[in-house]
Amino acid sequence: MNQPLAGFAPAPVTARMDTHGDHMLKVAMQTGQDLFARVGSMIAYEGFIQYEPNPPAVRQIARDWITGEGAPLMKCSGDGLLYLADYGANVVVINLNGDGISVNATNLLAFDAHLTWGVERVKGLAKFAGQGLWNTRISGQGWVALTSRGKPIVVDCGGGEDETYVDPDALVAWSPNLKVKGKRSFKAQSLIGRGSGEAYQMAFSGQGIVVVQPSEDSTDRLRFRG
């Protein structure tokens, strides 16, 4: 009866984090190896896993996040297999081996709790009062999973003086050592009489990579605070 479905059974565990298909993250959980995951991203689990929304540790670090209350992370602990997904977005698994990565808050799916992380506000983007782009900088030895609407593309900034400009709505992650600033690219004359199209970009310069998704979801990117 379910032979065609049998092909979707999980593959044996080979690593802490793995993907099942393109859109699902599989995490092997063990006591003492806690995980921070996006609230509501759990789709299934096997074993004994407990969830603690809005844990104190997150509250401490992320007190600036959005409104300062209710960080969108939950702490998962226990033993078993945990499956996470985010509304069908592509999942990208990264093993940070001492590296760091700066991830847009909406594109963060899960990461090891023992990693060093912090929430920061992207400089230069607070042009309007109360608005800003928030991202999470993560570094250390461990695993991170990101989501991307569509298969992402990784662009090397190259380190030349040429800057790389990214639409903030399509930005997923970048190397934390890149220099970031905001840029308006449309000339004043072209703004007359119409709404803004690509009015605002983020400019990256330096050595590193930028990850971009092929979609411009404008959900919760530039969000209001307070």
Binding site: A11, K151, D156, G197
Partner: protein
């Protein structure tokens, strides 16, 4: 997944595959018919000026062996090995032809195809059958031709006169010594061919008859696996995947430049090309530093430091589903991960694909345009830029007549921006699939909301298709014409249908159709309205009519 060609379709070979060492297979058969399949190497005037480049059963290869006849294999009636970068410059076109030996005519043939296989994977296929022909006795099935770069065209045109007419077409002179040769192989040529064919690859003694610049882009030459006997079973896809000869069919970045009819993501059960993210990118050899995953198969030991649960009963006991053993030592040449060990290695497969072309598909949903190549501006839908590098200027482009017409009538104005300067712009929108369409003087009609970007050199005009029941009162299409590239977006993987007398499409789902294969506007669009609105829920259909060779593109999404 192979790209399906219709008669008249053309494509750059570099868009189909990164490889230049190609296998071309022809399958053609018919009850009681015998075929001679040959390849003509033609000069710039489409003449067979050097008859050493007439590759057929009596002359199985060209002097420098860039064109070789391999014989029947893998379900193909005849097969060739074409090494594009060794073809001498005076040869500008390769024409693959089939001629009837003995009585008969082409309308009697059974369904057949010509296909291109690179690295063990079929990348293009032009299928034909007897209904496309009538009394022809010789047909040109497909061409490789050099126009800046090598391209492939599905031709499917024939001559009533057989091989002689074909030679006359190419050479202007009937080579008398050839004509007697044609009827010569009374025995099915499949018997004759293997005489020289097998050594081409079956015996390892003959490889690399030349300095062999070993087509470096990950794709080696590999005929489609399959047995040499000629049963017309078209090598089933699973065989291709299971074959050990397969090489990761993508250039190192790991993002295959997917041609327009973008294949859906490979089913999970299929191991090879698009490796699941979590797996090391295809090598068992030195894993890039920092890529902490155990090289899957042999080491069940979890990586140190993450002390995996000792596989509590219930986890991981499932039999492996083939992914893990599927990793051969491909040795994909990926240099030291840039951008830092861990992150760089993990994201290696999403790297941008560098090519020197103006339009490059980065993956099925992202496209890059290099404004420096060609030096002309690009018009793109506003808001579609996701990233750019270099000095690029974006300006509001007044939509002009089109904007006023479309905007005025539908209320949704299509706004464009003009990108000028030097640099690369990455375009994407809402995770839609993007398909670059290269126009070479021909014309295509695209529904206005499915246009993402196009070269400014293309001329366009708005056509309005009126009909009761269409939301907004009319369907607006843009007809593009000229030379340049147009990027069409579709929600989901589209289907390309040939236009037959009974081709219908939902007005909301149709994306594009060929204005004509040869610049003649021959597609007629007719509105149909069912007797009772709401009767079927599909009250508005478009019917397409046109000469054979026309096509329509439909997306699995109704606006």
């Amino acid at each position: 997944m192979a790209r399906e060609f219709q008669r008249g379709h053309k494509a750059r070979i570099s868009d189909l595959t990164a490889g230049t060492d190609l296998y071309v297979g022809v399958q053609i058969s018919g009850p009681g018919l015998t075929f001679d399949i040959s390849c003509f190497g033609l000069d710039a005037d489409e003449r067979l000026s050097d008859d050493r480049y007439f590759v057929f059963f009596n002359q199985p290869k060209s002097p420098e062996e860039s064109i070789q006849l391999l014989g029947a294999q893998a379900g193909d009636t005849e097969s060739f090995r074409i090494t594009l970068d060794r073809i001498p410059p005076q040869i500008q076109k390769l024409s693959f032809t089939a001629t009837l030996d003995g009585a008969g005519q082409m309308s009697q043939i059974a369904p057949g195809y010509i296909r291109i296989v690179a690295g063990g994977e079929e990348v293009a296929r032009y299928s034909f059958n007897g209904s496309e022909f009538s009394t022809e006795r010789a047909v040109m099935l497909g061409d490789f031709y050099l126009k800046d770069v090598w391209r492939f065209a599905a031709v499917g045109q024939g001559f009533d006169g057989g091989l002689e007419a074909l030679l006359k077409n190419f050479g202007g002179e009937v080579m008398e010594e050839e004509t007697p040769a044609a009827p010569a192989p009374q025995q099915p040529q499949t018997g004759a061919a293997p005489g020289f064919a097998p050594p081409a690859f079956a015996a390892p003694a003959t490889p690399a008859p030349a300095p062999a610049p070993a087509p470096q882009p990950a794709q080696g030459f590999a005929p489609p696996p399959g047995s040499t006997p000629p049963p017309p079973a078209p090598a089933p896809a699973p065989d291709v995947h299971a074959a050990p000869t397969i090489v990761a069919p993508m250039s190192p970045p790991g993002v295959a430049p997917v041609p327009p009819p973008a294949p859906a993501p490979a089913p999970y059960g299929q191991p090879p090309q698009q490796q699941p993210y979590g797996q090391p990118p295809g090598q068992t050899a030195p894993p890039p530093p920092g890529y902490g995953q155990p090289p899957a198969p042999q080491t069940p030991a979890p990586p140190p430091g993450y002390g995996q649960p000792t596989q509590p009963p219930g986890y991981g006991q499932q039999p492996p589903f083939g992914q893990i053993p599927g990793q051969q030592a491909y040795g994909v040449p990926q240099g030291a991960p840039q951008g830092g060990a861990g992150v760089g290695a993990a994201l290696q497969k999403f790297k941008e694909t560098p090519t020197g072309q103006r339009w490059t598909s980065q993956n099925s949903k992202l496209i890059r345009v290099d404004l420096g190549v060609g030096g002309q501006p690009v018009l793109a839908r506003q808001g579609s830029m996701v990233l750019y590098q270099g000095k690029v200027d974006f300006a509001y482009k007044g939509a002009g007549i089109m904007g006023r017409v479309v905007g005025g009538a539908t209320g949704q104005e299509m706004q464009l921006m003009r990108c000028t300067g030097q640099g690369q712009v990455f375009l994407a929108e809402s995770s839609t699939h993007l398909h670059p369409v290269e126009l070479q003087g021909d014309a295509i009609c695209v529904s206005a909301e499915n246009v993402l970007a196009f070269d400014e050199s293309l001329q366009y005009e708005v056509r309005r298709i009126e009909g009761h029941g269409i939301p907004g009162g009319a369907l607006f299409t843009m007809q593009f014409q000229g030379t340049g590239t147009l990027v069409v977006k579709t929600h989901g993987t589209p289907v390309v249908l040939p236009v037959t007398p009974t081709t219908f499409a939902d007005a909301n789902a149709v994306v594009a159709w060929s204005a004509a294969a040869q610049v003649i506007v021959s597609s007629q669009v007719r509105m149909r309205r069912n007797a009772y609105p709401g009767d079927t829920g599909e009250s508005v259909n478009l019917q397409f009519r046109g000469a054979p060779g026309n096509f329509i593109v439909v997306q699995p999404y109704e606006v």
